[in-house]
Amino acid sequence: METCHQTRNPFSDAESPAVGVTLEHVSKNFGSLMVLKDISLTVEPGEIFVLMGPSGSGKSVLLKHIVGLELPTSGKVTVAGHDASDPATRGKVRMALVFQAGALFNSLSVYDNLALYLREHRIATEAGIREKVMRALQILSLENTARKSPSDLSGGMRKRVAIARALVQEPQLMLYDEPTSELDPVMSATISEIIATLKDEYRVTSFVVSHDRSLALSIANRVGILMGGRLLTVAPPAELRDPQDPVIADFLNPHIDVKNPRFKQLES
């Protein structure tokens, strides 16, 4: 059996095929606002794909298309060969999305936030659930928050709880919306390591939206750059250390020029 085409379940060691994602000529309009413009992209099974781009460029909207929360105006999104806009796909492929703002269930404790998925899908007994939940909390150094309410946590902690909640779903495809924003550098590094470990040991496909250059350059297999709803380039991280395109170069390595500030350029 070719292990590189299998995902191993982090908790149960069960194996299932690694999943890929394809976008074919995807466009999305909100009324007259064109947010995504003719995007074609393939994410290979088991790879870490990092999508970078200025805020407002449509990264979150693109992520929502992959899990079927938004439907394309034209074009098609498939996950492991299944149409992402079909609700049944969520029952066929285990996908987890880490929302930008966490989207934790405010009426539930941190523990119950993590346990909900396992309980609703009757994946384990309460004892089994406890083990999985505590393990995921431990990975993100959150053991002491189990009984707390999400509203009592800091922004960074909520982010980590959201990641832990995605981990217990034992996904084949993990989608992260800016997982390291609001985190300190050490915790950001931990998140990068988690993403890399999920790939190396469990062949989990990861789609990461991030502004974090060090994350992108250290763990990504490929990096895409989205600007104004267009996918400008997709390249291995090595090529982005020294980009040729001035627009991309300016986005990745913005040069702070006090003598000739950008906001003055914008004003004129």
């Binding site: 929502k64 899990v67 079927g68 929360l69 969520r90 029952g91 996908m95 987890a96 999305l97 929302f99 703002a101 989207a103 934790l104 269930f105 405010n106 009426s107 909900l116 998925y117 609703e120 899908h121 779903q169």
Partner: protein, 250 residues
């Protein structure tokens, strides 16, 4: 024209929500704790105010009846008037209005906030249908709690009427006579009639408030707007439905 389309869309969306929620009915036994929690919420938040208001409505009915019937010496029929009005009309109506104000608004606020803060989206991506865990337990709970609340409202209202009729000087009707006519004229059908109404009102209020809450779009400001809309639509529907139900149950 735009508004008409919005209203039709709202009705369509609400019916779809109902069908989806009902389709998950077999999961209800597994959701017993959630169902119990909702029963508690509905009962706990409305029972005290239902009791207080029923008492006074029964009392006012007795006063008005006493005032108008005393002149032609028919005051022992106060019991029948209070009994029938509470059972057929005011009990169910008042419980439904209080339900809209206390429970419906809370449901709309909670679901709207879950929608705005993407908790609903999170459920969807976890393949946990929101209709199953957010809507179904509430609908089931209101079906169970409405008759209970309405019967309590009727009883308290009847006793309120009795106490007022007895203690107000110009009426001074003995409770035995009051309850004698109440029992003679208020039939089981009248009470059952009211319970059917209450059941319909309660179900519609909860369904509407769930639907409006879950269809909230935009930012946190929209939560308040959703609550207002849910309560207003509920109240209008209670009154309109009341007319048609009364007519068809006559």
């Amino acid at each position: 024209m735009k508004q008409l389309i919005a209203i039709l869309e709202g009705i369509g969306g609400t019916l779809r929500l109902l069908v989806r929620a009902v389709a998950f009915a077999p999961t209800l036994p597994r959701q017993l704790p959630r169902f119990m929690e909702q029963c508690y919420q509905i009962g706990y938040t409305t029972l005290p105010i239902v009791s207080i208001l029923s008492f006074f409505i029964g009392g006012v009915l007795a006063l008005q009846a006493g005032y108008s019937m005393e002149s032609f010496g028919a005051k022992e029929f106060i019991g029948s008037l209070v009994g029938l009005s509470m059972a057929r009309e005011l009990g169910p109506m008042m419980v439904a209005i209080l339900l809209a104000g206390r429970v419906g608004s809370a449901i709309a606020a909670e679901l709207a906030s879950m929608k705005v803060y993407q908790e609903v989206d999170a459920l969807v991506t976890m393949n946990i249908p929101p209709e199953r865990i957010l809507v179904l337990p509430r609908l089931a709970a209101v079906i169970v709690m409405m008759p209970v609340l309405t019967i309590i409202a009727n009883l308290v209202g009847w006793f309120g009427g009795a106490i007022v009729a007895h203690s107000v000087d110009f009426i001074a009707l003995e409770p035995e006579k009051y309850f004698e006519t109440l029992r003679r004229f208020t039939k089981f059908e009248d009470v059952a009639n009211g319970l059917i109404k209450a059941e319909v009102f309660g179900f519609v209020v909860v369904l509407i408030c769930c639907s409006i809450g879950l269809n909230t779009r935009g930012g946190p400001r929209e939560i308040g707007a959703a609550v207002t809309k849910a309560v207003v639509v509920s109240l209008i529907l209670i009154l309109v439905l009341d007319y048609f139900l009364t007519q068809s149950l006559l």
